[in-house]
């Protein structure tokens, strides 16, 4: 079977939906973060697939590299913040971190 652009797009769309589902449904902060990574990687697959099959220039590859770097920084910051939350709340369940709501 010939693998074409559409296959990649379907995979990326699935990944994006799964990522969104994880962000919405998971309670654990780390799992929410993993959902976010899935969304970012879905976008990355799109960039690379379009760059390869769309006959587009290097722009797509460069974009993907930028996204990988930014995803790493974002994960580093988010994990530091989650660690700090753990020290205050003794858990990292996003739903139960709700001191601010009245």
């Amino acid at each position: 079977m010939h693998i074409g652009l559409v296959h990649y797009l379907v995979v990326s769309a699935l990944l994006f939906s799964m990522g969104l589902f994880a962000i919405i449904s998971r309670k654990h902060a780390i799992l929410v973060l993993m959902g976010i990574e899935l969304v970012l990687n879905a976008a990355n697959i799109n960039f690379i697939a379009f760059a390869k099959y769309g006959g587009m220039n290097i722009e797509g590859h460069v974009a993907a590299i930028f996204v990988i770097i930014l995803a790493a920084t974002e994960a580093a910051i988010a994990l530091a913040i989650i660690l700090n939350i753990y020290q205050h709340f003794r858990h990292v369940n996003v739903d139960e971190v709700d001191d601010l709501k009245e």
Partner: protein
């Protein structure tokens, strides 16, 4: 070879127009170095940051009237960007001065070096965002400013609610920028370019279907909407504004909103407006999707929800958070008409909004310094305990409501005028009704200050002359520009020029 030499000339020329950003980058490094060398001094990095901001402002002044696409169309320098950069720079300057008088940032911390470093990082991110004309550049600069602001929101990490604010900010922020990135990747696939000018050219040639274009643009706008806290993406705003240190709350409510509005306007005008039809009076968008009504629905939801929920708030910071959502709604109303008139109104509104909102937040900070509370009930009798603060807070709140003779009235006047001129009278009516609702909760604070009393009624609150001076320096322009607003309006009229394909 000719190719290479054109690149180098472009690069050298671009660096000439990159001076403000270069200055800010140097300032980031210098704040760290000075913090390491002068360990005894608490504020030395802050002074360095102020010097950096002033120098960046001077370089920015030299860019007035310049139109240039720098770094192979990555960044754009135009009058619109310069105006927004002035607002960002001015509010950074004011916030750094606020920081010197903040009590909550200081206990247990001998120095604030990294605070100023992150502040300057955020400013740099906003500068790049305001100027960027490339989707990856937009994503990159949004991340620069967001990552700094995630940390700053939880800067007082030993306070529980600040940590919570920071967690909520990072999760909502990362999720919405993720969605925005997916939108960018689809738009890249549709048009074959990440550059807004090339994208514009390609969609103008009519090779793109309406629906995919609409969906991908909507995802990108969702990312901007999160920055300006428009309604479906506003959930983080009240919690983050309440939990974060007051200085950062004030900064987020003005500067990062300014950057968000700037990039929103630029995305529409540079990316989606048909270059062949009149770009001055109305921006005719390419395709059959009417973005006006999408933006109008978002703006109505934003202001109505902001105002209605603000009515029930008892915490001053939370109240101002919902009020800032409502103000984003008013400004979105002017964006929604999609013409130069509306863009001018946004610029005018933003300048005045900066003065009054920063002023209100500074008074909240001063009161929290003395009374250790942000509860509106504790503001009882404040008008008599500290007359200057009472009067000034009243001025700021009246200005936020939009009553004459304050600057806020002029801002609202221009927004409503632009909406009515575009033929949306009913939208202006909704805006006015919303202003009336907002009067209730702003005046509730004033009533508490003057008509309620508590047991501390007699004890005076004293503030240092410099603190009073800073309050007055924000309050007097708020009144002054309410009467003599011509210079700001003229400046905004000159600055509405967003660079487009020609």
């Amino acid at each position: 070879m000719t190719d290479l030499s054109t690149y180098t000339t472009d690069l050298i020329k671009s660096f000439e127009f990159f001076k403000p950003e270069t200055t800010l980058t140097a300032t980031i490094i210098l704040t760290i170095i000075f913090d390491l060398i002068f360990k005894k001094s608490k504020h030395i990095s802050g002074y360095v940051a102020i010097i950096g901001i002033v120098i960046a402002g001077i370089f920015l002044h030299q860019q007035t009237g310049v139109e240039y696409k720098a770094f192979a169309n990555l960044l754009v320098i135009d009058d619109f960007g310069v105006f927004m950069k002035y607002i960002i720079l001015l509010s950074s300057l004011i916030i750094i001065i606020f920081t010197f008088y903040s009590k909550e940032l200081h206990p247990g911390k001998p120095r604030l070096g990294e605070y100023f470093t992150l502040m300057m990082g955020m400013t740099l991110g906003m500068f790049l965002l305001v100027g960027s004309a490339n989707l990856i550049m937009i994503y990159l600069s949004i991340e620069i400013m967001s990552i700094s602001s995630y940390v700053l929101a939880g800067y007082t990490k030993e306070i529980k609610r600040a940590s919570e604010a920071s967690l909520k900010y990072v999760i909502f922020g990362a999720a919405s920028t993720g969605i925005m990135l997916y939108g960018i990747s689809i738009l890249f696939g549709l048009t074959g370019s990440l550059n807004l000018f090339n994208i514009n050219q390609y969609i103008a040639s009519g090779n793109v279907d309406d629906m995919p274009l609409f969906v991908s643009s909507l995802m990108i706008v969702a990312g901007f909407g999160y920055k300006i806290s428009a309604v479906p993406f506003h959930f983080w705003t009240p919690d983050v504004y309440e939990g974060a240190p007051v200085t950062i709350t004030a900064y987020l409510s003005v500067a990062s909103k300014a950057a968000g509005f700037a990039v929103l306007l630029r995305f529409f005008k540079t990316g989606l407006v048909d270059p062949s039809s009149g770009t001055l009076e109305t921006w005719n968008l390419i395709g059959n999707i009417d973005w006006r009504y999408v933006l109008i629905v978002i703006s109505i939801l934003t202001m109505t929800l902001g105002n209605l929920v603000a009515v029930w708030q008892n915490n001053m910071k939370r109240l101002l958070a919902y009020s800032s959502i409502a103000h984003a709604g008013y400004m979105l109303m002017a964006v929604a008409v999609l013409n130069d008139n509306g863009a001018t109104a946004v610029l005018i509104y933003f300048f005045f909004y900066m003065l009054m909102n920063l002023g209100a937040f500074f008074i909240v900070q001063l009161i929290a310094n003395k009374l250790d509370t942000e509860d509106i009930d504790d503001y009882a009798g404040l008008g008599f305990r500290s007359p200057v603060l009472g009067v000034c807070l009243t001025i700021f709140l009246i200005s936020l409501t939009g009553l004459p003779p304050t600057a806020g009235f002029i801002g609202k006047l221009y927004v409503f005028t632009s909406v009515i001129n575009a033929g949306f009278v009913w939208l202006a009516v909704i805006g006015v009704v919303n202003s009336v609702i907002s009067l209730y909760y702003y005046i509730k604070v004033v009533r508490n200050m003057y008509l309620r009393q508590n047991e501390h009624f007699q004890s005076k609150l004293t503030y240092s002359p410099t603190e009073i001076l800073i309050v007055l320096m924000l309050a007097i322009p708020t009144l002054f520009f309410g009467v003599y607003f011509t210079p700001i309006v003229e400046w905004a009229n000159l600055s509405v020029n967003i660079l487009v394909n020609k």
